[in-house]
Amino acid sequence: MENSIAWIFIFPLFGSVACAILGISNRKICYPIAVLSMAGSLWAGIETLRQVLSVNDHTVSYLFGGWTLDAYPRGVGIEFHADILGILITLVVLGVGLLVSLYSKLPVEEETPGKEPLFYTLFLLQVTGLAGICLTGDAFNLYVLIEVAALTGYGLIAIGSNRAAAATFNYLILGTIGASLYLLGVGYIYIKTGTLNMVGIHDIIVAEGLADSATMQVAFVLVGVGILIKMAFFPFHAWLPNAYSNAPTTTSCLLAPVVTKVMIYVMIRMVLSVFGVEFSFESTLWTDVLPWLVVVAIVCAAVMALAQREIKRMLSYLIVAEVGYMVGGVWIYNYYGLIGSIFHVISDACMTLCLFLGAGLILRKAKTTHFDGLRGLFTKMPLTMTGFFIGGFSIIGLPPTCGFFSKWYLITGGMVSQRWEYMIVLMFSTMVMVVLFFRMIERIHLAVSESGENLGHGHGDLGLTDQQTRFDEGPLSMLIPLLLASAVVLVVGIYNQEVVSLIEVFLSDFNLPRGEGIK
């Protein structure tokens, strides 16, 4: 279909308006509206992917308002620019949105009673904003969409408890600094190039040789730092753990997998197609500085995760560590590192979704996400725990989950470009995650006292009471999305070659060093 790019956001946009208006009289109607519009949007996304793959140069550009490129100069209208990478990430966002909206029925009714219409309005607009960020081809439009996603995020988090409100305030301040720095950076680009269109900016940088211009260098720093703040990279990560661990279940399920990943996608987009490979990697100092920051980031985040005694909080710190992986994969400046980075964006979204959906179910049944409340949950809810562990194994990087393959490419990249510190730190954090998850597995399978002592008596005796082992799964509307998500983790892992070949098609346009040998 010709207009399928537009349909991607038309569905959730109209859906959110319908939720807001119709929800006043009947708040039961919001859930079906949300699910339907997410499904429609996902369908449009798949349609667009087919469209992108069928074109020769694998990009589809869509100009709003009919300001076509042949009749008007580039940049007069706003362009949506879908290449393979953009549409892949969009599909991830939409898929996560669909699964979470399916999952959301019970948690939303119970955690925020009476606010369902508002919740679903914000939810759909959040997805609209994130999908728009992935597709837009206009630097200023990107700012507006970032703010759409950010404001809905603040609302979705603060809809819960007072603690969540306090955490959101810090998120808001840091988020505004990040977005404003990005806006300032766009201003610096604009003052030098006179255009806001991403392709146009790249053309002018190449044509006029602006790589050495002080303004462009500063613009690059401002845009980069703005995006790093938004993605909770290490020194700026303070907002993330508080905000995500205090948010309502559905909110954290939606925000945690996609928001940081979408911002990493924006960074890759800025580096590769706006500023250009030569500018970003060769005329700035970032390739020297950032990998070392990444090392610090991963170590700190992993250690902090180790210190947490609560699932959601621990997972939030894991996200910070994963952000470190992906940023590192980009800035080691290597073909394989970049493949790993992009693949990890996709797989990390899937596995984080798995873990947070699982954590939501645990919270519902065990009434707590504290480690001590996990006692013997496996015999009680085996399906939930299987889904949860698949996500966990993927984060550790066990084959055949997708986490293994993306980490493999990251390590290959580190090896080829001889960034040993990056490789070592990847290994270190893998070890930390092994410890984390096996500590949890122990608690989930056995009865372990608070001091960590096994309460069972010998082989085969788990030390659990009958009540604790009675089969008691969560409701199907929450269980099915979790199982679907874990299935996706496995499927993406098994079909990793197909995904990687798509990414390779995208990266073939850019001149990246491949190193020798290994493949």
């Binding site: 038309i10 946009l13 006043i24 009919g66 309005t121 409100a165 190039t193 006179g194």
Partner: protein, 249 residues
């Protein structure tokens, strides 16, 4: 600690001043931003493309109409999020505020406002409708309109204003505004163009393609105005009462 907070500030400052010496000359027509084809196209061709004399309105509502749609969505989000944050949150009993004055609505104030409000509202309509020719447009008109209701709330009390503009209406109107904006875009998509390609509306209305853009821009601005009016009032109503909607300022 106090000193520590100066470090990022200083770093940013040095960075920004470092770039300032590289900027093109102040106010020069030959600066890249001023002589770029995009900017010259806006100045030279707005009249031909859309027949709108105010270039800012044309760029806002037509050339970059997609931005403006999401800008309206941002306003809508703010309204919804404030409702979501404050609804049913607060202390149920009314706590006496630090500086509370219990007074009847003042006679002089209410009578002045009674005279003033219609004038403000007519001016709001003028600003909205005349935005094609003079500075103004949907946002400014909408804010003025919202301000007139806030004025009612300030001079009588919030209940009086809420009788005239109930809170459910603000949600409905806010939604309708976006619906109108995106609906015009969708309609033009169904007529064969891209999303927001207003010129396709000439197929169903008896006007030229340029004038179709002209008139569609008015429709779009009305949508923006509706949303902004509703949300500005809703913001005030919620914030002044901590979401309880009784006893405003």
């Amino acid at each position: 600690m106090k000193l520590l907070s100066y470090i990022p500030v200083l770093v940013v400052g040095v960075l920004l001043l470092y770039a300032a010496k590289d900027f093109p000359e102040w106010g020069s027509p030959d600066a890249p931003a001023s002589k770029s084809p995009v900017s010259s196209h806006f100045i030279a061709n707005t009249g031909v493309d859309t027949e709108v004399p105010n270039m800012v309105t044309a760029v806002l509502a037509d050339y970059r109409g997609f931005d403006t749609m999401f800008e309206t969505v941002v306003v809508f989000i703010a309204g919804m999020a404030v409702l979501a944050i404050l609804k049913n949150s607060g202390r149920k009993k009314l706590v006496k505020r630090e500086f509370e004055v219990d007074a009847e609505p003042d006679l002089i104030v209410t009578n002045t406002v009674r005279l003033l409000v219609p004038v403000i509202q007519i001016f709001a309509f003028y600003v909205l409708a005349h935005g094609h020719v003079s500075p103004g447009g949907g946002f400014q008109g909408g804010v003025l309109m919202g301000a007139s209701f806030i004025l009612v709330a300030l001079s009588w009390d919030l209940e009086t204003a809420l009788i005239r503009f109930p809170l459910n209406w603000t949600t409905i109107l806010g939604g309708l505004g976006i619906f109108l904006y995106a609906g015009i875009g969708l309609l033009s998509m169904f007529l064969g163009g891209e999303f927001l390609d207003y010129s396709e509306l000439a197929n169903i209305f008896p006007v030229s393609r340029e004038m179709a853009r002209y008139h569609a821009m008015l429709g779009v601005e009305i949508g923006v105005g509706l949303t902004v009016t509703a949300i500005m009032f809703s913001l005030y109503a919620n914030l002044s009462t901590e979401g309880r909607l009784q006893r405003g300022l």
